[in-house]
């Protein structure tokens, strides 16, 4: 069956901060110059914001540029940061509060806001629609389309109504081809089309290996007497051990809610590490427990982040389009912030594309002008200054690496004349299970800590039952024949949604993929030591339905 097609000037994949900023900026320019411009955004979530999960403390720099009057326009930035606290958790009881003087200044949050990034995206979506952007939630971009000359022609949305066996159901409708002069890929971390383009055009040829973390987050209603709007807690240490690193956050937002989460670096080596259980244990530490105790968990979710930074950043342009935001890896690890950088990369893409179209460009070009704009922007400067932050922590550990970062950020403003590299892929770090000790995690108490299934339940995740499994194994024998004996199949533990299970039935073992639980975090695509799992988009609408996450 021939697919129908629609033509646009620009097609944007993913309605996150980067894609929506690009969409808004494109139409702003078109409206200012009274030019006809057609911009379309496709989003796999059931609505804008449904798949958005972030801390989030954001810096408003990019938003200030995009909508200088965002306050007057009612952008949902309601809680300014009032106080920063940083803790080193030493064990299950003890902690050290780090003096602000010793903190790299990139970690100070004065002037920043605690937001729900989901709600910010919903607001950006409204602005984009008012500016004339066509946004289609519930439609997943499933494939990249190429012109005969190899340049990107757009994307195709996935077919709907295919059964698990691959047959067309009554509800079948074929995907649509969305052709564009330029395509922006803003799928977020490890977007499956962005990944394909980075590989196909060898965009990462000159970059270090990319690095990732998986962030697990919960939203809590807490007792009003424990609530301190604007208070921001960060920290590291316990219970992470045995080669695993990461950091926690706890932000007091409005309405007696706090968000609490843990980002575990995905370069951990012990295959028995379970980021989910680390997080659940961590909430029992007095530093966090003091706020959560007596509260009620409202929502749960997880999402991988791209954190390699400057050294790992691929070329972002390819013939016919641009990869932006976390899809490329613009997050600033030294600030633990990616929203303002993602937004900026989106607006820069919009400016380069609009300029090209205005000059009569028919599309399909590789836009050097984007790279020029990027390299002369504050975004580039910011990423350059923080290029050593992650590698220093990876190489020297949190204490010495933290010391290096303090000197680099506070004394040299990030311009220390050395560049540290960390060129080993996260998935290559895994050690054989035989060389590691199983980790005995705390049993959930149902008050502060919970099991995986009741957690996934709170993500409101749902996938149409009868559809092909969207977690593709390149080789179906690897989980049981290789990963299980060598690494005790770590997918059972790194997946924060309990998608992967090894089930024993008598003497037989079976590898089960509960794809319906999937939170679209992409950790499996990143961390599988055999790189055997490929995450592809399920039917549109599927996945989590996050509220104000």
């Amino acid at each position: 069956m021939v697919r129908e097609s629609m033509e646009f000037d620009v097609v944007i994949v993913g309605a996150g901060p980067s894609g929506l900023s690009a969409a808004c900026r494109l139409m702003q320019q078109a409206n200012e110059t009274e030019q006809e411009l057609t911009v379309c955004v496709v989003e796999k979530g059931s609505e804008i914001g449904a798949h958005i999960l972030s801390g989030a403390v954001i810096e408003t720099r990019a938003l200030d540029e995009l909508f200088p009057d965002w306050k007057g326009m009612g952008a949902p930035l309601n809680t300014p940061v009032t106080e920063d606290q940083i803790f080193m958790l030493r064990n299950e009881e003890a902690s050290i509060k780090v003096s602000n003087i010793l903190v790299p200044k990139t970690m100070h949050n004065h002037g920043n806001y605690i937001v729900s990034l989901g709600n910010l995206c919903r607001w950006l979506g409204e602005q984009a629609e008012q500016l004339g952007v066509e946004i289609f939630p519930g439609f997943a971009a499933a494939e990249v389309l190429y012109n005969d000359d190899g340049s990107v022609k757009g994307i195709a949305t996935g077919d709907m109504g295919i059964s698990e066996a691959g047959e067309q159901k009554d509800s079948y409708i074929p995907g649509m081809e969305l052709h564009a002069k330029y395509t922006i890929l803003s799928e977020g971390c490890r977007g499956h089309l962005g990944k394909e383009l980075i590989e196909n055009f060898d965009l990462a040829a000159e970059a270090d290996a990319q690095h990732y973390g998986v962030g697990i987050k919960e939203l809590w209603d807490i007792a009003p007497e424990n609530h301190k709007p604007g208070l921001v807690l960060h920290g590291s240490g316990w219970p992470l051990s045995d080669g695993a690193s990461g950091g926690f956050f706890l932000y007091h937002t409005d309405d007696n809610q706090v968000v609490v989460g843990l980002i575990v670096d995905l370069n951990y080596s012990n295959p028995y590490t379970s980021p989910f259980d680390e997080f659940q244990s961590m909430k029992h530490h007095p530093v966090l427990k003091q706020y959560l105790e007596g509260g009620k968990r409202v929502s749960y979710g997880a999402r991988a982040i791209t954190k390699g930074g400057f050294n790992s950043l691929p070329r972002m342009t390819f013939p016919g389009g641009i990869v932006t935001g976390c899809n490329a890896g613009t997050l600033n690890f030294s600030k633990i912030k990616g929203t303002h950088t993602a937004m900026k990369s989106g607006t820069l893409a919009a400016e380069a594309i609009f300029e090209a179209l205005q000059n009569g460009c028919e599309g399909g070009q590789e836009l050097q002008s984007f790279t020029d704009k990027f390299e002369s922007s504050w975004l580039y400067d910011e990423l350059f200054r923080s290029r050593n932050f992650g590698p220093a922590l990876h190489k020297f550990g949190p204490i010495l690496g933290g010391g290096f970062n303090f000197i680099d950020q506070n004394l040299f403003c990030g311009k220390i004349p050395v560049t540290l590299h960390d060129d080993k892929e996260d998935y290559e770090q895994m050690l054989p299970a035989s060389e590691c000790k199983p980790i005995d995690y705390l049993k959930p108490d149902g008050e502060l800590s919970f099991d995986k299934l009741s957690s996934v339940f709170l993500s409101n995740t749902n996938h149409e039952e009868d559809q092909p499994i969207h977690l593709k194994l390149k080789d179906e024998t690897i989980p049981l024949n290789r990963n299980l004996p060598q690494y005790a199949e770590p997918a059972q533990r790194y997946c924060p949604a309990g998608v992967y299970e090894v089930i024993e039935e008598g003497q037989e073992k079976r590898f089960q993929i509960n794809s319906q639980n999937c939170l679209h975090c992409k950790t499996c695509d990143i961390k599988d030591p055999a790189q055997n799992i490929r995450w592809v988009v399920p039917e549109g609408m599927g996945g989590p339905n996050y509220p104000n996450m």
């Binding site: 629609m6 059931s46 066509e134 289609f136 709907m160 409708i173 339905n545 509220p547």
Partner: protein
């Protein structure tokens, strides 16, 4: 023939419903809303009648604040032709809804009205029946099959213990049950087209209806949480526990 379909904006069925901490109502802040699934089935049925040539226009109506236009647009994307929003701040009670709809019917003169049997938020299952009484139209509720036969509509109803088929003179009111059809996905071009389809906004005053509250919501409480189960070692222990702890045998 014109078909009138009613749609309601409700909390999405995938969302875990939470009660506000002061027990005044369900918490709708930051919650995903969607088209009531039974209403979606009603839209699908009407669109199928249009595709079969039996109906020539499908009109959707919804009652609520401006946000419910989103659900009207969803129905238009599924194939309805035009929309009517009756703007109210609060969600009116079933009787208020039925009175408003009765006025719409008076204006629109549809040959058939298709409604969901109930909305998944309040689960009242009243409006269709009340509307039938107010308009003096025959009703076929809980429909699992709808067949137009000249001036009649034959409705197969899901009743306790089986199926019942009733023949109604049109104009008539049909309320849908789950098995009537499986709604289609809206296609991308149809979603675009839906943005340009006509949508009228009216107020209850335009229709000459004054909304009154006849009931008062006192308290909303979540169901008691289920206690964790235990594993028993033997049949004897099970029997013992059923007898002495649960006291069910």
């Amino acid at each position: 023939m014109k078909v009138l379909v009613t749609v309601k904006r409700v909390i999405d069925y995938n969302v875990k419903v939470r009660v506000k901490s002061d027990n005044t109502d369900v918490d709708l802040a930051n919650v995903k809303m969607a088209l009531n699934p039974f209403c979606e089935i009603a839209v699908e049925e009407a669109v199928r009648l249009k595709e079969a040539g039996t109906a020539d226009e499908v009109v959707v109506v919804s009652i609520g604040p401006k946000a419910c236009q989103e659900q009207i647009r969803t129905a238009l994307a599924l194939g309805a032709d035009r929309g009517i929003q009756i703007e109210t701040e609060e969600a009116p009670e079933s009787l208020g809804v039925a009175k408003l709809l009765a006025k719409v019917i008076e204006e629109e003169q549809p040959g058939l009205v298709i409604m969901g049997k109930q909305a998944i938020d309040s689960d009242n299952n009243q409006t269709g029946q009340m509307l039938a009484a107010l308009t003096d139209m025959p009703q076929g509720t809980f429909a699992s099959e709808v067949k137009i036969d000249g001036d009649n509509v034959n409705v197969t109803r899901e009743v306790d213990g089986g199926l019942q088929t009733v023949a109604l003179n049109m104009p008539a009111i049909v309320t849908t049950d789950l098995r009537l059809n499986e709604p289609r996905y809206a296609s991308l071009p149809n979603i675009m087209k839906a943005k340009r389809k006509p949508l009228d906004v009216k107020s209850p005053a335009d229709l000459g209806v004054e909304l009154k509250a006849h009931t008062k919501l006192l308290k909303v409480t979540p169901p008691a949480e289920r206690q964790a189960g235990i594993k028993v070692a033997s049949v004897d222990e099970l029997v013992e526990k059923l007898k002495n702890e649960a006291k069910v045998i």
